[in-house]
Every structure is written in structure tokens, then in C-alpha cells.
């Protein structure tokens, strides 16, 4: 190739390359890509869908296992109750499924699971079942709105007959055949008892402030407690409620929350240095600080021996922002299950449930069945229902 031709071809190639480079530089549109970030479609509309996959897909729970700790549900549970089945010595656990409000049951002898009702209560979040197994009270939450319904279980067609409570329900608990519940009324909270059989309610007491947390007793006439909802930065005060009268107790403090019965209280407050738990004897009025720390909302107490409390407790050091961060779902605990007897001054580890299950269990909604050989609780982390088989000591 002659030298001039070679130079001409080379110049043309260089010009072409420069033209391509200039085109890419000035005219090219980049691809729709946010670099390392994934493109997102954003939509504020949340549609309600019914979880049709829930029916029949629950794993069989192995209740006949000799393990003491058993996971009863794998999906979020809004409420539960152990019942003695009619004409049988076996007992079942009825439970309300979160999201749908469907009610299921597990036979604790055979492990058989049944759908009791298939009526949907959208966004069901919290529920209670009466001791006779005939009624439920379910609260659902959608957006910023809470609705509360009472359902009558129709065994024949697996449905619920629902009655809406047209009041702002702030707290509720099921008894054998009625419900205790509290509603906002002006600048107060009114405690009531509702009879679903007659669809009537009667007033029990009035708490003269709105932001009330209530510890319900075991009957309408039993002792109840109320306190302003806990905040680590605001002072709280304990009030005893009985026979319609609200009486201040010598318990107060920042971050106060409590649990108790007519004889004893367990409560925790934020002291200047630590989050501290105490025991309070209603009879002697004596306060005893405890060497272990627990959040009272993780406790239940025995009905037959009122000095016995069963609580979830994490051996970690509690920060001074507890319980706020726990309520927010920022802090979670890996609990152990403890039994303490205030009269006997004893505390026993029932189970290191987090270690035994191999997962963090943040215990809430603890309760005992009637014979008190079963401790139930919900794992706050995933709202699943758990059972611990408790040995009942002689004399207990």
C-alpha cells in the first residue's frame, strides 16, 4: 500500500472514531438504570388480599412429643384459649389467626387440627376467646383505624355471627362467657362487662384519664389495675380498681408498667441508673427490689397460688429506653421462662425457650390453663403461639 493511501485511510478511521466518541458523549441517552440502585416502582395503595393458602397448609403440630416446649402455630396468632372439650378429658387449644380472624383448634391429645370458623375478619390483630369456647372478641387494625367485633361461633356451618362494638375499645379480656373491655369516653376510660348472649353491657368503673393500660382481673368483681401507659420519660402511677372504686397505690415511677393479682404485683420502673423490677405485697405494703429484671407485660400469675408468677426474661442488661424501644419493635429479647414464688422467695428456670427452640423468642401474652400445667405464650417476633408443659409441684 502506498504511503499516501495509508495515511488517508488512517485519518478517516481516526475521524470516524472521533465522531463515534463525540456522538456517544453528546447525544447518547443512558439506559434506565440507577447505577448500583435498583429501579423501584412506588405505589401507596395497599390492597387487601385474603390469604387463601392458609387453609390446610398448617403443619401438623406434634403435641404428643415428650418435649416440654412446643410450637403450636407457624403463622401469626391474634389470640388463643385452652378449652376442655365436652364429654372428653382431652383439651384443645382454640386460636384466632392474625389477618383473617379465622379460628382454628389443635387437639392437645391427638394433635388433630381443625378449622372452627372460616369467616374473615380482615386485618385481625388481637383477639380473646371465652372459656366456654362460644364467643370471640377480635380487634382489627387497618391504617389508623381500629375496629372491634364480637363473634358468636356457629359450629354447624363454621361461621361467625359478628356484632360490631361501636365504641373505641382500648383493652379487653375474655372471661368464661362474657368479656371485660374498656372504651374511651370523653377524657376518661370506662370499664365494662359485655354479655354476648344477651348483647348487653354494664359499666364497671371509670378511669379519669385516657391513656390507660389495664391489668384485668379474673372476673368483673375481681381486682383490676390501671396505670398511664408506660413511657421511660414520663411518670406513671398505679391504681387499684375494685367494686367500681379507683384507688391510688403507693407505686409510681418513670416507665412504670405492672402486672398482678389481688395479692401481689410485679412492676418495673426506670430508676436514675437502671431499669429495675420490684415485687409488691398488697397486704404488707412491702416493696422488694428484684435482682433480675423483667418487663411485666411478659408475666402471668397463678389463679390458685397468687404468689406464683411466670415471666419471660432476658438476662441482658436493659437500657434505660426500655420499655419504649421494646414497644416500638426496635429492641427484641431472647427470653427464658421463669417461675417465681414471692411467698417462698424462690425463682426457678422453667425453660431457656430461646435456646431450646434455637431462635429468639420474645415472650408476650403469657397465660396458664385451668389446671396450670400448660404455659402458653406468643413470640412477639413472629406472633407464633407456643406451649410449655409445666410440672405441677405437690401442694401447688
Amino acid at each position: 500500500m502506498k504511503r499516501p493511501i495509508f495515511i488517508i485511510v488512517g485519518t478517516v478511521v481516526v475521524i470516524l472514531l472521533l465522531a463515534v466518541w463525540a456522538y456517544i458523549l453528546f447525544f447518547s441517552t443512558p439506559k434506565t438504570d440507577n447505577g448500583q440502585f435498583t429501579a423501584l416502582n412506588i405505589d401507596g395503595n395497599t390492597e387487601s388480599v385474603i390469604d387463601t393458602s392458609a387453609t390446610g397448609t398448617e403443619p401438623i403440630v406434634n403435641v404428643i412429643s415428650d418435649k416440654k416446649l412446643i410450637q403450636l402455630t407457624t403463622k401469626p396468632t391474634a389470640g388463643y384459649r385452652e378449652l376442655i372439650t365436652t364429654g372428653s378429658s382431652s383439651s384443645i387449644v382454640m386460636y384466632i389467626k392474625s389477618g383473617t380472624g379465622n379460628i382454628g383448634s389443635i387437639d392437645l391429645t391427638t394433635g388433630e387440627e381443625r378449622d372452627i370458623t372460616t369467616t374473615t375478619i380482615n386485618f385481625a390483630r388481637q383477639g380473646e376467646i371465652t372459656g366456654d369456647g362460644k364467643f370471640v372478641m377480635v380487634q382489627s387494625e387497618s391504617g389508623n383505624k381500629k375496629d372491634t367485633v364480637v363473634g358468636t361461633i356457629n359450629d354447624n356451618d363454621h361461621t361467625l355471627t359478628l356484632v360490631t362494638i361501636d365504641e373505641q375499645v382500648v383493652s379487653f379480656k375474655a372471661l368464661d362467657s362474657t368479656f371485660l373491655y374498656a372504651v374511651r369516653s370523653g377524657s376518661s376510660v370506662v370499664g365494662k362487662e359485655y354479655n354476648p348472649t344477651t348483647n348487653t353491657s354494664k359499666n364497671l368503673f371509670t378511669i379519669p384519664f385516657i391513656e390507660a393500660a389495664i391489668v384485668w382481673g379474673n372476673s368483673a368483681t375481681d381486682v383490676h389495675y390501671a396505670y398511664p401507659k408506660a413511657s421511660s420519660q414520663l411518670e406513671g402511677y398505679a391504681y387499684l380498681i375494685q367494686n367500681g372504686k379507683v384507688q391510688r397505690q403507693p407505686i409510681s415511677g418513670y416507665g412504670l408498667s405492672m402486672y398482678g393479682n389481688s395479692k401481689f404485683l410485679v412492676y418495673s420502673i426506670r430508676t436514675p441508673k437502671i431499669y429495675q423490677s420490684y415485687l409488691y405485697d398488697m397486704e404488707t405494703k412491702l416493696v422488694t427490689p428484684t435482682s433480675f429484671t423483667f418487663i411485666p407485660e411478659k408475666c402471668t400469675s397463678s389463679k390458685t397460688k397468687k404468689s406464683v408468677f411466670i415471666c419471660g426474661e432476658d438476662s441482658t442488661t436493659y437500657s434505660q429506653s426500655v420499655p419504649d424501644t421494646w414497644y416500638q419493635g426496635v429492641t427484641a429479647f431472647s427470653d427464658m421462662l421463669w417461675e417465681l414464688d414471692i411467698n417462698a422467695n424462690t425463682i426457678n428456670l422453667l425453660s431457656d425457650v430461646s435456646k431450646e427452640s434455637g431462635r429468639g423468642i420474645d415472650i408476650i401474652d403469657t397465660s396458664l390453663n385451668a389446671p396450670e400445667n400448660h404455659v402458653y405464650f406468643i413470640n412477639k417476633n413472629d406472633q407464633t403461639l407456643w406451649l410449655y408443659k409445666r410440672d405441677i409441684k405437690v401442694g401447688n
Binding site: 435498583t38 387497618s142 414520663l234 414497644y327
Partner: protein, 323 residues
């Protein structure tokens, strides 16, 4: 006549200079405010630790021995102490605190105070935002409305038909004492905390009790939660600002402690992904649904809510999403 006048003046002078030692009761004490017992706190609650101090600005007890008696029993190790500590009696009872002053001449003077401890609870109910599942109480933020309720009780609540004087940072609310006003609403003042005080009196002006408390004022803060179309909002905050998902995910921003009025009508509310604004928000300005485009990666999701008339009423937060 002149003699009579001189005699009268002399007699009056003698009365004026004669020591006042005698058996006197509390009523007599009231005529002599220079001598008395002061309590700290001045309105003790049942079971509260109390310090009683003998106040004698006139110096009239100089040289007298002091004996402290509570409910008829001498307080151990209190002889000749000007100050004693004790625990206020239980609810529903009255406690008599007495200081017996004895001069060398044998004259005795008794000064006393009767304490009827009552509880005065001030319940703070901030009108700020917390989500429905939050079991605790909201906190005030600057400019947000606070409702305060004063509850006075011993064995039961007192009738609220009393006189109430409320103060914020020592500034009287509503111009002075108001009958039956056991509840007040006011905006949280500027500052990290402030003092709220209330004094409660009988209708005749007799002070029953008083108290002041310190109330925090916090900055609103945003936490993010996943929202399930089946179960609703999760009660677990998105951990460590990271959420991992391979599906459409609805996220709700919860501005804790934001004034509820601002929450309901936010002037500024904006979602951002990386640095771009997203205006395509549905009916609920606090929720967005994010959808992966099929490629893996991560993105920063942030939310900002604010009131323009009260610029401190607002919060910004962000969380990272991995796909």
C-alpha cells in the same frame, strides 16, 4: 390622768417584752409566723420522706431545749435538733408533728403541724403520633398539644370542684386560679424540657397540695415498618435500617411523637429513592410500595414530613432496601 397614761404605756411595754413561753396551740402559732415548722416537701405524699425544720427567725427559742414528737411518740435521737427526717404517714391518716421547746425556767412552747398526706398525680397525655400497636405513651414535641390532668386522692379521688393554679415554667396559665380546672391543654414550649406545676386549694383558699414536674420535649423520629396486605403493619421495626426483599414490599413511615395535627395534615411529605423524589404516593402519604425491577441491588428509601408553620414539627428518616 397623766399618771394613768404613763402607767398604761409602761404596762403595754412590759407585755411587749415579756417572753411568750406558754402552752400555745397551732392557732397561737399562726399569730407568730416567725416561729414555726416548715416541711420539705411542703405537701408530702403518703410514705414520702419528709424533712421538718424548726424556723425561728426571731431567735425567741434561743437557749430552749427541743423535743420532737410525732403522733405522741418522741422521735429517737432528735433532741435539740433543729431538723428531723421522717416518713409521711399512710394514705387516709393524719400525722401530728410537734416540736416542744422548753426554757430553763420551765416554760414550754409547743409548735405543731398536722399532715394529711395526699397523692397528687399529674398525668401527661401528649397529643402526638404513635402507631396503633404501640403499647406506651407518646411524648411531647415542641409545639404539640399536651393534655395534663391533676388527680388528687387519698383513699379515693377528691372532688374536682377545687381551685387550680397551673404554671408552665413559672408562668401562670389562664391568668390565675380556676375553679374545677383539673385538666389543662397547652402547647409544648421550646426547649428540651419544661416545668409544669399545679397548686390545688379549697374554695376558701386553703392550700391542699402542690407539685411540679419536669416534662421532656423530644424531636419526632421516624421508624419504618413493613406492611403486609394480609396482616397489616408489622410490630417489628425494620432492623438496623436494612430490609431485604425479593417481592413487592409496602413500607410505612411512622413519625413517632409528631404533633397529631401535623400528622393528619402534613404540609411537607415526601418519599425519596436514592436522590429522586417520588410523587406517586397513594391515599396514605406514609406508605409506599417498592417493587424490584428484576436486578439485584440496594436502594436508599427516605421519608420527610414537616409542618412549614412550625418547622420543628417534622422528622426525616431513611432505610436501606436490598433486593
Amino acid at each position: 390622768m397623766r399618771t394613768l397614761i404613763l402607767f398604761s404605756i409602761t404596762l403595754l411595754s412590759l407585755f411587749a417584752t415579756t417572753p411568750i413561753f406558754a402552752q400555745i396551740n397551732n392557732d397561737t402559732l399562726n399569730l407568730n409566723p416567725e416561729l414555726g415548722i416548715t416541711l420539705q416537701p411542703n405537701s408530702p405524699q403518703p410514705g414520702e420522706s419528709v424533712t421538718a425544720s424548726l424556723e425561728d427567725s426571731s431567735g425567741s427559742v434561743y437557749g430552749a431545749s427541743i423535743t420532737w414528737i410525732i403522733d405522741g411518740t418522741e422521735v429517737p435521737n432528735s433532741r435539740n435538733q433543729r431538723q428531723i427526717n421522717f416518713v409521711a404517714t399512710t394514705v387516709g391518716k393524719t400525722q401530728n408533728v410537734r416540736a416542744v421547746l422548753t426554757k430553763e425556767s420551765g416554760y414550754e412552747k409547743i409548735i405543731q403541724e398536722n399532715i394529711h398526706p395526699v397523692y397528687l398525680d399529674i398525668i401527661i397525655e401528649p397529643q402526638t403520633r404513635t402507631p396503633g400497636f404501640y403499647l406506651g405513651r407518646a411524648l411531647p414535641s415542641i409545639g404539640s398539644t399536651i393534655n395534663a390532668t391533676a388527680l388528687i386522692s387519698d383513699t379515693g379521688f377528691y372532688d374536682t370542684d377545687l381551685m387550680y393554679v397551673w404554671k408552665i415554667n413559672n408562668k401562670v396559665l389562664d391568668g390565675g386560679a380556676i375553679r374545677g380546672r383539673n385538666q389543662v391543654s397547652f402547647p409544648a414550649p421550646i426547649g428540651r424540657q419544661f416545668t409544669l406545676s399545679v397548686q390545688i386549694s379549697e374554695l376558701n383558699g386553703t392550700i391542699i397540695t402542690s407539685r411540679n414536674i419536669s416534662i421532656p420535649s423530644v424531636e419526632p423520629k421516624i421508624l419504618f415498618y413493613e406492611v403486609s396486605s394480609l396482616f397489616g403493619i408489622s410490630e417489628k421495626a425494620i432492623a438496623e435500617s436494612v430490609i431485604e426483599t425479593s417481592n413487592n414490599t409496602t413500607v410505612r413511615a411512622e413519625p413517632y411523637n409528631l404533633d397529631i395535627q401535623v400528622y393528619n395534615n402534613p404540609v411537607v411529605h415526601e418519599w425519596k429513592v436514592t436522590n429522586g423524589n417520588y410523587t406517586n404516593v397513594g391515599n396514605n402519604p406514609y406508605e409506599v410500595t417498592v417493587q424490584p425491577s428484576g436486578t439485584t441491588g440496594n436502594t436508599l428509601l427516605s421519608f420527610h414530613v414537616r409542618d412549614t408553620t412550625q418547622f420543628l414539627q417534622g422528622a426525616e428518616g431513611n432505610t436501606q432496601i436490598n433486593f
